[in-house]
């Protein structure tokens, strides 16, 4: 049986194709466009192409993500929480806490031993605890996103930053730059600030080992480093697939 999960995120749309609910055979990630349906279709097609599978061989398509309702060709839809929980458990069954950080949202999910969701918490309305923060700051500092996280790892300490908000952080960063604070320290301060926000949400469900971090921002080593420090515990990344695919994977797993 072939299933496909499509995660229409606010910034990226991810698709994962799964064989017999166990084997990942294809995946793709494209920028979410104006037209959700189109983005979803494109992501799916790319993933199918990578898998070498035809569209009519797919038995079931399940959508998730913030645009999940605008994928009319999907057979079913599931919430991001359940998708991330399922995907996280599949990727690492010893996971008890899943932290998902995407472009605009973050959430903490607590899993039972059997993978069932025991509790979850969503971050509240402020983008300061998600990927857009790093996107904006990296752009401001004129550093490619991929390097922005590395910068943070190289820093000796964090610059003092008060801003609790993306926009104000931008002005804080302006003034830090003006004070000639090294970019490394600014980067570290930003990652610490995000980790701080994410942690304060996830703490609501309680941190239980193992902690798995998924979603696009998990690719950012600076963030992972700050998060570890903030939570004072080891955190893991999925090994079977890149972290941003986990919710799409979870969606594809729905049908077993």
């Amino acid at each position: 049986m072939i299933t496909a999960g499509i995660d229409v995120g606010s910034k990226y749309t991810k698709a994962v194709v799964l064989k017999n609910g166990a084997e990942i055979v294809g995946y793709a990630n494209i920028r979410t466009g104006m037209d959700h349906e189109k983005s979803a279709r494109e992501a799916l097609e790319e993933a199918l192409k990578a898998a070498g599978i035809n569209r009519d061989q797919v038995d079931k398509i399940i959508a998730t993500g913030f645009g999940k309702t605008s994928v009319p060709f999907a057979d079913d839809e599931i919430s991001q929480v359940v998708a991330a929980g399922k995907g996280g458990y599949f990727a690492r069954p010893s996971t008890r806490t899943v932290i998902e950080v995407g472009a605009e949202e973050s959430r903490g999910i607590k899993l039972a031993e059997d993978g069932k969701i025991r509790d979850f918490a969503l971050a509240d309305k402020c983008a300061a605890g998600a990927g857009s923060f790093t996107d904006a700051m990296a752009r401001y500092l004129e550093v490619p996103l991929e390097e922005f996280g590395q910068l943070s790892l190289r820093s000796k300490g964090a610059a003092a930053m008060n801003a609790q908000c993306v926009i104000f952080a931008e002005s804080e960063v302006v003034s830090l730059v003006h004070q000639n604070v090294p970019k490394e320290e600014i980067s570290r301060a930003i990652h610490d600030a995000i980790a701080d926000r994410v942690a304060s949400i996830v703490r609501r469900v309680g941190i239980e080992d193992d902690v798995l971090v998924v979603g696009g921002l998990a690719n950012d080593p600076g963030f992972i480093d700050s998060l570890k420090r903030e939570l004072n515990t080891e955190v893991y990344l999925p090994e079977i697939i890149a972290p941003e695919y986990i919710p799409a994977l979870g969606a594809a797993l729905m049908e077993e």
């Binding site: 008060n162 609790q164 104000f168 002005s171 980790a195 942690a199 304060s200 949400i201 703490r203 609501r204």
Partner: protein, 392 residues
């Protein structure tokens, strides 16, 4: 000429006490074999603890960002209480033998209960305390609560608190209040030998150390102040009015690190005058005397509202008096974000200051102060008060 005002050793002592507050308390514990109680609001009747051989220390801000309180405390509770609770949860007060609160705002209450439950501590006490301090029956009611409290302290420490001990405690506390008021007198001078930073550090440190020791330093400070040499420009005379505030960074920025000279000549908040202005007036019934002191002190806005024939705010009468006596040029209304008691008074406070012709600047504080943003506001405020000669 005496010493340079800025270099007075007593100022260093105050700052050092604040920085090493935890070490001080631990050492005190060892040296005196006594218990240390952390308290969350200045309505706690410290005299009774002190009489029982207990050192009361106030739990104040650390001004470090944290992420551990939000599972328990609502986001819209004030940053100060998040900061206090965070330090508790992080174990920075693990030496405390007890914690207590005299009923004040809701935010602090929640901090107290969460602390009590989640931070191991031998003893905790929530004291019911009148909120309507302006009503005629408040002192009587409080006296009853003080009786219960005294018994609780006695049971906990396994001693009885004698009248003599109460009198001694009252004396030490009153003395501290008198001395600090005398220091404040120097702030009325045209060029005060003490800045707001040091004055605030004086008051904050008094909340953290044994008052007897504090009194000694105050006495020597008063000696030195008499002929201290002031070599800074006083500039605009500012008063701060508002919520709890122990953010020294802000004071440093305003008085030492910006474009214009300015000096705080008065702090109205509970890390300033509201804390120490009133003394216990001794009477035979000691607990009644203490009760009256706490009911009649300059009230916190959380407790200052009309009853019977009184329709004003008692605190405002004080503010008016201080503005005049200390020759204040401008006021900074400083409020902890989300602090409801203050927020509810500020519209009326603004009217009061307008009527007094005192320009004012409103600032909202968080756990950490955005110094850059505040600098611009403060400088612009000072520009609007002074700098007349730029215009011709």
């Amino acid at each position: 000429m005496g010493k340079k005002a800025e270099e007075l050793p007593q100022y260093k002592q105050f700052a050092e006490w604040i920085e090493n507050r935890h070490d001080y308390a631990k050492k005190w514990q060892q040296n005196n074999g006594g218990k240390v109680v952390g308290y969350l609001c200045t309505y706690v009747p410290e005299e009774i603890l002190y009489a029982g051989g207990v050192l009361p220390v106030r739990i104040l801000g650390s001004h470090e960002p944290e992420s551990i309180t939000r599972p328990y405390l609502h986001d819209m509770y004030c940053p100060f209480c998040h900061d206090c609770l965070a330090q508790g949860l992080e174990g920075r007060f693990d030496y405390l033998d007890g914690i207590m609160l005299a009923q004040s705002c809701l935010h602090l209450r929640q901090v107290f209960f969460t602390w009590e439950e989640r931070v191991p501590v031998d003893w905790s006490y929530y004291m019911h305390f009148p909120h309507g301090v302006n009503n005629n029956h408040a002192a009587e009611y409080l006296k009853g609560e003080l009786e219960k409290f005294k018994v609780a302290v006695e049971e906990w420490t396994g001693t009885t608190i004698t009248n003599k001990e109460l009198d001694d405690a009252i004396e030490v506390y009153n003395k501290n209040r008198q001395l600090m008021k005398q220091v404040y007198e120097f702030r009325k001078l045209e060029n005060p030998p003490i800045t707001g930073l040091h004055a605030m550090e004086m008051v904050i440190s008094s909340q953290m150390v044994d008052k007897k020791e504090h009194n000694e330093v105050l006495e020597s400070l008063l000696e030195d102040l008499k002929d201290a040499e002031v070599d800074r420009d006083t500039g605009t005379r500012l008063m701060i009015i508002g919520s709890e505030d122990d953010d020294r960074e802000f004071f440093k920025m305003v008085e030492y690190e910006q474009n214009y000279s300015a000096t705080f000549v008065f702090e109205e908040h509970c890390t300033g005058a509201r804390y120490f202005w009133d003394e216990v007036r001794p009477e035979e019934d000691r607990l009644m005397a203490i009760a009256k002191r706490y009911v009649n002190r300059v009230p916190c806005p959380a407790k200052d509202w009309p009853t019977y024939g009184f329709y004003g705010r008692r605190r405002f009468n004080w503010i008016e008096k201080w503005v005049k006596e200390f020759n204040v040029d401008g006021a900074i209304i400083m409020q902890q974000k989300f602090c409801d008691p203050h927020e509810l008074d500020i519209p009326s406070l603004r009217e009061l200051l307008d009527n007094l012709n005192i320009p004012h600047l409103f600032l909202e504080f968080d756990i950490t102060v955005p110094v850059g943003q505040f600098r611009t506001r403060v400088e612009a405020f000072l520009e609007s008060i002074g700098e007349d000669d730029l215009f011709f």
